[in-house]
Symmetry: D2
Subunit: 336 residues, 4 copies
């Protein structure tokens, strides 16, 4: 059964709005960042990574965002262009904003952290007037990302993008991607996450992210059913709640829950797992696959990304994901 019906005859498959930034990944890993001497530069930001993934899977994609008017901004635009992502709505900032940075620290495969530079970030300067209605009018799916809600005017740009998507019938996916910095308070976060989620067809997040959204609500047992049920009263068709090591569960309007098996991986770091999972899952849903198969595809894509050094650059093709699944099925890949 298909939970999502995509609009037909749209020119673009997938458009994302939100954070575009730079990852500076430690080259010398398995040590604290104090002892890291060199860093490699990659394009980063959750919606950027997902869009790169979608493009590698062969979809027609575009991005809505804002880049700094500097070398970092131009590097990002260049990288997206080389990945065949349409840039007509990637605006260049003129206020002197800078590119957001994320320095990664990889102490061990399971002990990773990020040092963020988000002050005066260009991506948060996107205004609602800069969002192109005609771009959203021609896409099947719009992905929004929670970090873009963290500050004005980007916050308003996301709400305006949601308006256009509703008006033109795009399926809307919401990757919660909650990062506490930049937000003033958890209360503020909860208010805007809820306002946005009301308008979305697919919502993906961790149990902790949904807990934050329930700041003003009563779900003392952190019940997934209570959480998902609320959103089915609005627009949602699928709510995916991720439970870390215990796997993800997709809840659907019909009261069902869906799980997929997981795969082994030689883990380098955990960054990028969520982005590649989201890309793989959404790709599967767009192909008309079952939720179980879509989730499996997302999991395998995530395994590939966490086995390598970067997030964006490691995004696999569909063939690579299928191949990974087969090799796992043949027992050729084991956990690290």
């Amino acid at each position: 059964m298909s939970y999502i019906s995509l609009p037909e005859s749209k020119e673009l498959d997938f458009v994302a709005i939100g954070r575009l930034c730079i990852d500076l990944n430690a080259n010398e890993i398995h040590r604290p960042m104090e002892e890291t001497m060199t860093f490699t530069k990659y394009v980063g930001g959750s919606p950027a990574n997902i869009t790169i993934g979608m493009s590698r899977f062969g979809l027609k994609t575009a991005f809505i965002g804002k880049i700094a008017n500097d070398q970092m901004g131009r590097f990002i635009a260049d990288y997206l262009r080389r990945n065949r992502i349409e840039l007509t709505n990637v605006v260049t900032d003129r206020t002197g904003a800078v590119t957001g940075l994320a320095f990664t620290e990889i102490k061990s495969p399971t002990d990773c952290s990020i040092l963020m530079y988000r002050d005066n970030a260009a991506d948060l300067q996107l205004t609602p007037g800069e969002v192109q209605e005609e771009l959203i009018a021609k896409t099947k799916v719009l992905l929004i990302s929670g970090t873009a809600l963290a500050k004005s005017p980007s916050r308003e740009a996301v709400f305006q993008a949601l308006n256009y998507a509703k008006k033109h019938g795009a399926v809307i996916a919401f990757d919660l991607d909650y990062r506490p910095y930049t937000w003033t308070s958890p209360e503020e976060t909860a208010v805007y996450y809820n306002l946005a989620a009301e308008k979305c067809d697919i919502i993906l997040g961790t149990r902790e992210e949904f807990d934050m959204m329930e700041t003003f609500e009563h779900n003392p047992e952190h019940s997934d059913q209570v959480t998902a049920g609320k959103w089915f009263d609005y627009s949602a068709k699928i709510v995916i709640i991720k439970h870390g090591k215990d796997g993800s569960i997709a809840y659907t309007q019909d009261g069902a829950d869906h799980r997929a098996k997981s795969f082994p991986a030689k883990v380098v770091k955990t960054f990028g797992a969520g982005d590649s999972y989201a890309a793989g899952f959404l790709f599967g849903v767009m192909q008309g696959w079952t939720l179980e198969k879509s989730m499996e595809f997302g999991s395998a894509a995530a395994c590939i990304v966490i086995s390598s050094h970067s997030c964006s650059d490691a995004m696999p093709t569909a063939a690579e994901v299928h191949d990974y699944i087969e090799r796992c099925n043949r027992g050729e890949i084991t956990a690290s």
Copy 2:
């Protein structure tokens, strides 16, 4: 026919959230403010005025807001208390914010202006966590006012109040009350006004205010039907669009439009007309009167306020409004 059905057996009739401030009205009028030497102090702010009006009509009312921790704040609390408005959710600011001020200039009955002090205003410091769910749970009607959306955290407090009102079945009225200061841009304003209006049962505003809300839309002829029609697709039951001298029109979901006759008045100044109209109209609707009768009652209340020096203090009782209507009907009152 009744367009609004009020929840039954609620303890309170009417709760408003938003701006509480001080009006400093010129005592020497019909001259520029440069030549005004003394000012009289009144409680002000559109939702405060409406609540005072509702209380004078005999309803049980409460207010949700924030006051400065100073003499002006204490004066406001005192005045509301003396008008029998419940203050359990009027919070005192602890950050050093000040009371918003509005100096009025009355050059002539038709040439009035306001000099606003809205920097660091206490009312805009209300947080979503300070809004009491139990208060909203026990009211029949919640009124929100656009100025409270102008800045965080008050903006989030209004959205949280809307959530509680929806959850507990209160009828929600939205008095647009758009004031350009405090807002960053018309685009920002349009985004939040629209997000709020989606959740409201009754929306009242001027044609210009609705035009601002349509910043991102296409209504080149400023058609009231197009404007009102949009909101009936969300939650609205009644949309009132005010056309200044040409009177107000109430649009309803059934496609009808409703007008009321107007009354003559000896106009001192135009301030407070909208607030007293809103109070009178909402009171009528809550009594189960026809829209026409409710609008008439609102118009007469407005006539009384614009014939006197203040806004809040001049709010009439229901008996005074009925009397005004009768005297007009008897031809005892003529325009100035």
Copy 3:
């Protein structure tokens, strides 16, 4: 002996830089402000009051400051003009700043307080580039006031004015006028007060103000001699330290201290005492009077101001001050 030698053949006697604002004085006095219903509007701000005083004494004066582009700003300009104060360097703000306000509360002659509105105040928007060197070049005395140091760019404007005054040989007087609001911390205040005081010939302040300036210093007994002595190592010729009821003491480079007798007054409120004292004292010094006689003249001017309702408007003429002194000497005036 003359402690100050004025430059000769300068066109102007006295120029002040700094705060220009509006006082809103309670009409109903001897009660808390909560119970005050009407206020009278006056020009206010310590350096403005002093300049008005100087002009009433018959000196040629000018002002350097910034006013809001509104009715309050125009009222201020008008009032200064009518008091024959040159306005060529009173700039109109174009950023939307407002006029600073001071609501006065007079509970009793000895229990007075002020409710200040200083957020986004126009006077603090004066930039160093707006200060006219040619105006300072032609004045005998420049007065700076501490509140103008509270925030950029006004802070830099004052330092630039000091540079011009040093360059062109004007005598510089510093009225400390410390008001805690607007300042970030007492440390910040101490740093800039000290930097400014180093360049001044005459420094007037209360013991408490000098204590604040000694935040980073060691004067555990709050010794006036220690305090004054420090400034004689820089540019100071006269340091006046005010001890409230115990009177003021003028310290001079030669190690002497000077006191004047005080006068009785029928006190209405204490506001404006410091400004009228400063005006009277500086006027005396500029006439070549002894410090004792100058201080006496300042005290009598202060008595006149605290016996009336306003600060600026009550500033006396020299004849009125002399008359007040004579009447006191004849025993015609007794304390309230």
Copy 4:
């Protein structure tokens, strides 16, 4: 002849106050930064580099500054400690500020630029109350750097450090190090640079930096004599004005000017030239060398730094500088 007399029997030779940050130097050079993929991390910031240089020359040094409470901050502290710089007055920020960053772009030896991250930088959060008087009391020389004047509260911390240095007789050197970002306007910069320079014994800067300081003055021919002469009227003993390729000139109170020959170098990039020059020159002055010999030593130190990849890490020992001079004198080093 000695222009500077150092205080005797002080425990420390040299203390600097100001910017501590991270340089991220492009590993792949001679290309635009868009094409740089990896960066190497170094401690940076002009006063930090100079202090590292002084320490390598064998002097006893300390630093006054503020570091972020993160991996970058700890790396900086660690590096300074390993360079035997006393850290008792390097404070850790607790407000969530970040470490300032400087990404370097080396297109060619003569075409280098920097991409700065200075928003919410920890070093600008140093407060005047955090500056330790006892540390400044025991140093012979205090170096201040212009970037620390760019913002409060660091600006006030520098002025307080100057007060302590004056009080305790330290020789004060001012490295202008003007960077336009962070400053609000050139006017603001000029005001504070001048206020600080008035108190300094040695002032080093480029002709362009001195021009900026003369924003409000009249030196239409950009005359070094006019520039230097002004400062001799305050505290200055030596004013060094750098003319890029045309070399530096040291002006002294006696009206003399002093020049040194320059040395050839295999230039990798120009960054760090000023810092190593300042370190070498000040070291020479502190040894009692002639100004010419001191300048020569500074020039040779600069040649060593610009021939290598970093600024801080490339700071030479005195032996290495002497060796460089000798090798130049023997003709063993030629320009690139």
